[in-house]
Symmetry: C2
Subunit: 263 residues, 2 copies
C-alpha cells in the first residue's frame, strides 16, 4: 500500500482504519492536531511496577491513559489497540519475538495497556513556529537512541533513557525549547542540546530505532525524552510478556494536541 | 506544647523534630518555601489501584513520590513517615479507628506510602501576590469539603472529590487563579469559583475536615482540589488498612516549592 495523499488531514478514525487494513508507516505528520501515543502493554502482575516506573520517570513516560486489564480500547483511544497501530513489537522475556501489524494472536485477558505521550504531538507546533522537522521533510522515521542515562528503577523495571533527535538550526534552538516546553505531557522541553557523546551516543547515523536524518552544518542535534523508554526497560528487565508499538509507529488517539498544551 | 515563635522560618528537619516530639498543629504557614505533602499509605496489594486512581485523578492526587513497600522515608522525605507528621488517621475497612501522632504501632512491612501534592505549597506565592490566606490569618486549619463530583474510579478505589476553600476578594480572584495555575503538581488552578451549592456543599461553616473561616462580604469562595481525596476514597472503598495524615497536618518534605513551579 502507498501512503494516502495527505496523511496530515486524516481523522484518527480514518488513520486507524488504514492501519487496521495493514498499512505500515511511521506516523510523524499524520492526523494533524491529534495526539499520538506510545503503547506498552504488560500483564497485570507487572502493571504496578510499570506504572510506578512511569511515575518515577515522567519525562520519558508521561502516562496519558491506562486500560482495564484485557481492554482493547480506552477513553483516549476508541479504536482497537490490537490492530489499529501501524506496527507492534512483541517481547518475551525481554527479547523481541515478533514484529507484526496485528497482535490479536498474542493478546491476553490480563494485559494492561499504557498510552504514553509522544513527541510527534508537538511537531505541528514546531513547524508552525518555523522550526524544521527533518524526519518529516525526509519522509523517514525519527531517529531514536539509547543513552547512558539510567532511569530511576521501580520494582522489576529499570533501563536507559531513550531519546528522539531533531536537528535544529542554531538560531532556532531557543524556539524549539520554548515551543516544546509548553507540552509537558508529551515529553516537554529537550533533555539535551548538542554533543551526542555526552549522552553516550557514538554515532548519530546509527540510531537504535528509526532512521538517521541529515544534520546540516548550521544545525545542533536536540534530544527529547522518548516513549520508547519503557520498551528499553522491558528489554533490560525481561518480563514474561510485553507488547509495544513499533518505534515511530504510534497509536493515534482521540485527544486533541491542545489538551496537553499548558498556558 | 505551644507553637514556636515563627513556624514559617523553620527547616523541614526542625519542624519534623517538633512533630516527632508530639506537637500537633495544622502546618499551613510552616517552613516557608518547602513543599508540603499529603500522606496515604496502603498495603502493596492495594497500591496499584491507588496509583492508578491518582493517575486518573491528577488534579486532587498529584503524586510527588511513592515509597518502596515498608519504607519509612523517601527521596523527598528524609524523616520518618511513621512519626514526623503532626497527626495521622488510621483506617480499617474504611472506618477511622485512631487519630494519633505516631503510627509506629500500626505500621506494616507491606505498606506503600504515597506523598501527594498539597495546596499549602502555593500559599506563600498567594501571599506574595497580596492574596489573603484566611486560615493562616486566623491561625486555624483550612476548611475542606466533600463535593458531589465523583473521581474517576480505579479498581477498588472511587469516591468524591474533596476540595479546600479560601475566600478571595473579588478583585483578586484572577490573581489567585494565575498564581496557583503555575503549581500544577500541588493542585494548580482552582476547580471551582463561587457558589458552593454547585459542588454540593450546603454550608461553608460546616467543613467536613478542618475549621470554618470567615468569608467577608466582598469575597468569593474559591475551591482547590485537595489531597484528602484519597482518604475519602479509602472511606468509600474500605480497604483493609490505610494510614493518612490528619487533614491539614501535612508531611513537610525536603523539596523546595520552586521545584513544582512551571515557567
Amino acid at each position: 500500500m502507498t501512503n494516502p495523499i495527505d496523511p496530515g488531514s486524516l481523522s484518527p478514525d480514518q488513520a486507524r482504519a488504514l492501519f487496521r487494513a495493514g498499512l505500515r508507516v511511521p506516523t510523524a505528520g499524520w492526523c494533524s492536531g491529534w495526539t499520538q501515543a506510545n503503547l506498552i502493554a504488560v500483564p497485570r502482575d507487572q502493571a504496578y511496577d510499570l506504572l510506578l516506573f512511569a511515575q518515577r520517570n515522567p519525562k520519558p513516560c508521561p502516562v496519558l491513559d491506562v486500560t482495564e486489564p484485557g481492554a482493547v480500547s480506552a477513553p483516549l483511544f476508541a479504536g482497537d489497540l490490537r490492530t489499529d497501530l501501524p506496527g507492534y513489537v512483541v517481547y518475551e522475556h525481554g527479547e523481541p519475538v515478533a514484529e507484526v501489524s496485528d497482535v490479536t494472536g498474542y493478546w491476553r485477558d490480563d494485559l494492561v495497556s499504557f498510552l504514553i505521550g509522544c513527541s510527534f504531538t508537538f511537531e505541528d507546533a514546531l513547524r508552525e513556529a518555523g522550526v524544521p522537522v527533518r524526519h518529516i521533510e525526509q519522509g523517514t522515521n525519527v531517529p531514536m537512541y539509547r543513552t547512558n542515562r539510567m532511569c530511576r528503577r521501580a520494582g522489576e523495571f529499570g533501563g536507559p533513557l531513550v531519546v528522539s533527535m531533531r536537528p535544529v538550526p542554531a538560531a532556532q534552538v531557543a524556539d524549539a525549547v520554548r515551543v516544546t516546553a509548553r507540552y509537558p505531557s508529551v515529553h516537554g522541553a529537550p533533555v539535551h542540546v548538542g554533543d551526542p557523546v555526552e549522552l553516550g551516543i557514538a554515532d548519530l547515523d546509527e540510531p537504535d530505532f528509526g532512521d538517521p536524518v541529515e544534520v546540516r552544518v548550521d544545525e545542533i542535534p536536540v534530544f527529547w525524552a522518548c516513549g520508547v523508554t519503557p520498551q528499553a526497560a522491558v528489554m533490560a528487565s525481561r518480563p514474561k510478556l510485553a507488547i509495544g508499538h513499533a518505534p515511530g509507529h504510534m497509536a493515534i488517539t482521540d485527544a486533541r494536541d491542545s489538551r496537553y498544551l499548558v498556558p
